[in-house]
Symmetry: C2
Subunit: 350 residues, 2 copies
DNA sequence: ACGCCGACTGCAAACGGTTGCAGGTGGGCG
DNA sequence: CGCCCACCTGCAACCGTTTGCAGTCGGCGT
């Protein structure tokens, strides 16, 4: 009865296995493996035959099996807070390009919501799935740091620093100084700062803290006081900046300039100002940070940083560890640059 | 000499294996496997013991091994042209959330450059790595379509259609109509269209074709003629829109309205217009599409589509196939909505 | 009291490669 | 002309789970 073996799932292509290739090429599976992975100890003639057989069967090794046997996955984990943000999307794109070119696959971990983030750190899905990890501007929370180190695999951070871990970043304090000095040189004294909400998703980004601190220092070294009532925050994104600006406008005195930790916040602030018909830069100057793609559109003065490039650099750092066994931890600091556009001017003599 | 086995890589945690758990719990590996995966044929007491042992050793199964044995990867491939674009980033975020909640990992394939894309289709790295794929607004090129189908695994497209494949999308023609009729009702007759460059990366996006066609139809059904010299294109992104607008301005007659296939193009066009001091909407009205986050900032009239939601829907479609064996191919069309802002008005009586 | 049955559990064979080790072969050198 | 040694290649033991099949055991129907 049931020897009537009907090929129910006949559609399944049933990929060729290494044995098929070996048989076709008339060699052993071991030789196929060595040939295909470019090992040196295979004669050219044999290799050629294997290559042809593999081609013929359009064979490609099962990543699972080879991973299991070799202990490596040829996959790298990218941990991102919000892919939808310009900065992160570009960093991902930059890293991806380099990794893909090097033949690695990229597993994306998006911590966009608190629930997702918690599950991430709880289950640490990276455990045996990847060979290395790059984390983008992730929080330093003690527990999280430990969880990451516990993975005990190559790790690079972008836009953040963890002791003993390689990183790629800008000098946040210096970048902020660029922005603040620009305003100061124009004669501003009442300068407000809009920062990303520290409690945004339940964690604050590292650079956020650095930038706030940098702001205070820059103000101080310019002989000005960073008034705490002029330091407000909003959740990450345009809306956050808009709300923060609203808060600022509700205060007793409107500052003559606003520095925003990210362009998206600055842009939100601009929207609020425009809707309130407050002239920019006539009454309030605005300067942001990152040089978001949209900055040129709203003519925003900002501090530019090379995001795509940082992503690429982070990836390359990882590859060096992976492929060349490089072991030194490095801290790459890339330069920033003030881009003066139309949202800043001398304060109104008012 | 070398029996002096120095534990060079002593740091390696050497994850607990299923055998360790089995030993500790006093059962066989098979029972551990069954217990952990919630199979029904394990007695509660045994299961409990296994769970504790696993917890104790903080065991988690090797994805590689279980993938190899079970034939599935618990991973889904996301194929994206440009993560850095608002639309794609949001679609990814939407899909990610759903997939992560369902316990799937996400492998990202970013086709950002021509080289990467070619390599992708040539090597089809998805082959044994994922259980299913969602492609975002990818081209229909005959060869590529075949390559995707050849994978012979569940597939869902977002913002595109392939015969016989489930999809999530908007009705592009209808959406365009919304925009065009809005302009027409305001009295515009000379309406230009800026579209994404078909030869952008060597391929045109599907929706691009649909939207151009939709534009022609909408114009026709409004009794107007879509003048080919008023249909220009630019590469994807703000700069493309800016250049396209420049081209338009160089033409013999400046149209009274411009419809852009994407908000990013529209925003680029706005920048050009503003820099040229051409009043918007006084002299030229502009309407875009997508309701990009920045649209509210530049006060752009546009046609909104729910991107995050579409990503989620696409993911859910996939899960239904994967988890419930659903086999019907569906085509989910989500609604769009005209958002009138400040870049459109009746044409200047000039 | 005995056979039958269902509920659990263990055995062992895959899954598809990688790699240390050993064997075979031909060439170069003494 | 024989020996030693590279250089190739094959053998077989893993890598860590999943799963079909078979065996065990207690309880229940008759």
């Amino acid at each position: 009865m049931q020897d009537d073996v009907q090929p129910v799932r006949s559609g399944r292509p049933r990929h060729a296995s290494i044995i098929d290739v070996a048989t076709l090429a008339g060699v052993s599976p071991a030789t196929v493996s060595r040939s295909l992975r470019g090992h040196h100890n295979v004669s050219p003639a044999t290799r050629q035959r294997v290559l042809e057989a593999a081609e013929e069967l359009s064979y490609s090794a099962s990543p699972q099996a080879s991973g299991l046997a070799s202990g490596r996955t040829r996959t790298i984990g990218l941990v991102v807070p919000f892919v939808t943000r310009w900065f992160f999307a570009n960093a991902v794109a930059g890293a991806y390009q380099v990794l893909a070119d090097a033949g690695y696959d990229v597993l994306l971990y998006h911590l966009g919501s608190a629930a997702t983030r918690d599950r991430f750190f709880e289950r640490m899905p990276l455990t045996r799935r990847v060979d290395a990890v790059v984390t983008l501007a992730l929080p330093l929370d003690e527990e999280h740091t430990l969880a990451l180190r516990a993975l005990d695999m190559p790790l690079v951070t972008l836009g953040a620093q963890i002791p003993g871990v390689s990183s790629v970043r800008i000098d946040d304090a210096a970048a902020v100084r660029l922005a603040v000095y620009h305003l100061v040189h124009q004669g501003h004294e009442d300068i407000a700062m809009i920062s990303g909400d520290q409690d945004d998703l339940g964690f604050g980004f590292l650079s956020s803290q650095d930038r706030c601190e940098g702001f205070r220092q820059a103000m101080a070294s310019a002989g000005l006081r960073a008034r705490e009532e002029l330091m407000v925050s909003g959740e990450y994104g345009i809306e956050g900046g808009a709300r923060a600006m609203t808060a600022l406008m509700a205060g007793p005195t409107l500052p003559t300039a606003v520095f925003a930790e990210y362009d998206e916040l600055a842009i939100g602030a601009l929207r609020t100002l425009r809707r309130a018909s407050i002239p920019v830069p006539g009454r309030v100057s605005v300067v942001g940070m990152d040089d978001h793609e949209m900055a040129s559109v709203v003519d925003l003065t900002t501090v530019a940083q090379p995001v795509l490039e940082q992503g690429g650099t982070a990836a390359r750092l990882l590859l060096e560890v992976l492929d060349r066994g490089e072991t030194e931890v490095v801290d790459v600091v890339v330069p920033t640059r003030l881009v003066v556009r139309g949202t800043t001017a001398a304060p109104h003599p008012n």
